[in-house]
Amino acid sequence: MIEMSKDYQMMLEAYQQAEGNPDVFSDSKIANLVVHKNQVLGKHLVPGLEVEPKETKDGVDLKIRVLPGIKIEYPVHLCFGVLPKEGIQLINIDVEVGENSKVSLLAHCIFPNAVKVRHLMEAKIRVKKNGSYEYNEVHFHGEDGGVEVVPKAKIYLEEGARITTNFQLIHGRVGRLDIDYEVEAGKDAVTEMLAKAYGYGKDIIKIRESCILKGDGARGIIKSRVAVKDEAKSEVYSEVKAYGKNSRGHVDCVEIVQDKAQARAVPIVDVFEHTAKVTHEAAIGSVDKGQLETLMARGLRQEEAIDIIIKGMLK
């Protein structure tokens, strides 16, 4: 018990270093869950939100339910982490957001000392009719690059449901990132997916985000912003398939490449219904000359200007 308290304290300190506000874990209005490796160190719920964590050999299985008609006022704070240099954390998440419900999750994933850490997530998410689910995942890594992050999610949106995902890995070395999110959107459902990552050293970034617009009037946007430098590599696969009548989709990918880094952007757009429309834009290359020279004309050195441009893009 004493050890767990120490771990809890260390997690909160790491959370604070990751620009999180630890006060949220003592605020009774804000639901939270703190998981270190495979240990649930803290949990607080609010009415209408059910979270059942089950510790497993390598991580935690989580069952999250938002009861029908419940709108959770404040974002639910999740803190996942592995503080030692080595370890594994496998999170299985099963989420169901009830009809006309609304919830926003803010997950901080903290691996400040990682030399050989694997953080794997398998999520199954169902958002019921007119429900709304927002999932923000912010990573905080150390400078060693010894982290492997593999989040996978299958998401089902019923009629009029909405999902917003926002993945950020811009603090510390990426290590190896392999995102695979897939959304199946029903009638009039709305999907917004945004992924941002900044790779350097020998980091490897692979992002696959897919949105299948099955229902009539479904809409989806997939946006990615990636910067790579040194010898880092990135591959971004953004896929929209439109089956529903009058469904609308858009893919927007920007990748900035510096030094010996390599980047690939693959927008995949399929339309199976003549009233549907999907558009895409992808820009890949070095820093935009116009942006760079505008900032340098204000007296910023080239490196400072590039830093501002990349930070702005990843903000």
Binding site: Q291, E293, M296, A297, G299, G312
Partner: protein
Amino acid sequence: MLKIEDINLKKGEKKILNNVSFEVADGEIFGVLGTNGAGKSSLAYLLMGSSGYVPDSGKITFNEIDITHKTIDERARLGITMAWQEPARFEGIPIMDFILLGSKEKGHTLAEGYMDSMRLTVSEYRTRQVDKTLSGGERKKIELASVMAMKPKLAILDEPDSGIDMLSQEAVIAMIREIKNYGGSVILVTHDEEVVKIADRAALMCSGITFKVGEPIEIIEYYKEHCKPCPTKHYVPSEAEGFQRRMGPSKESGK
């Protein structure tokens, strides 16, 4: 302050600037007038030090310092800056921060003052970013505000009035005068003879040469009579032909 001597610039085989020479004094507004394709913007890029615009020959001196081969940021740190004809689009940079990028003084109140002077409603733009949600005219006004905030010794303004609504044109003129008032100089690149009227002196540019420098009214009259409308892209007024013969032929015009 700024001395440009016999500047030549080629892009491939095409001559863009041909023996361009003029001087700009402290506190002077110097207009560069000419039709589209005359080489005005190329001259502006070259003076700012934009990549790809290093002169093939000639010399640029700023306050006795040879800046011919200095980079953009080195020139900027000497007090030169520029507002591009087509301002860049950014992501994630707040307008307030962008305006003060080159300013030694910081603070939201200061940024708001510059926004106000460019007729940007502070309450509307305070929390916005310099991104693609802004129109070209809005980005232009923000860029001009950032030039003003830098308090440059020399501001190169490439078509500062284009794309800006009529009500804000006065603000652009006031901004140019403000720079002059504190002793700064302005190179005002434009194809609009009305705008160049605020200059102290002006040069008429055609096919990469500045063949006439003088009082703005004199330049405007010549421009109206000989250059506008320009009958062909490669039209060179007869007086310029003579000038060009003296300076050496331009491969582009072939005249």
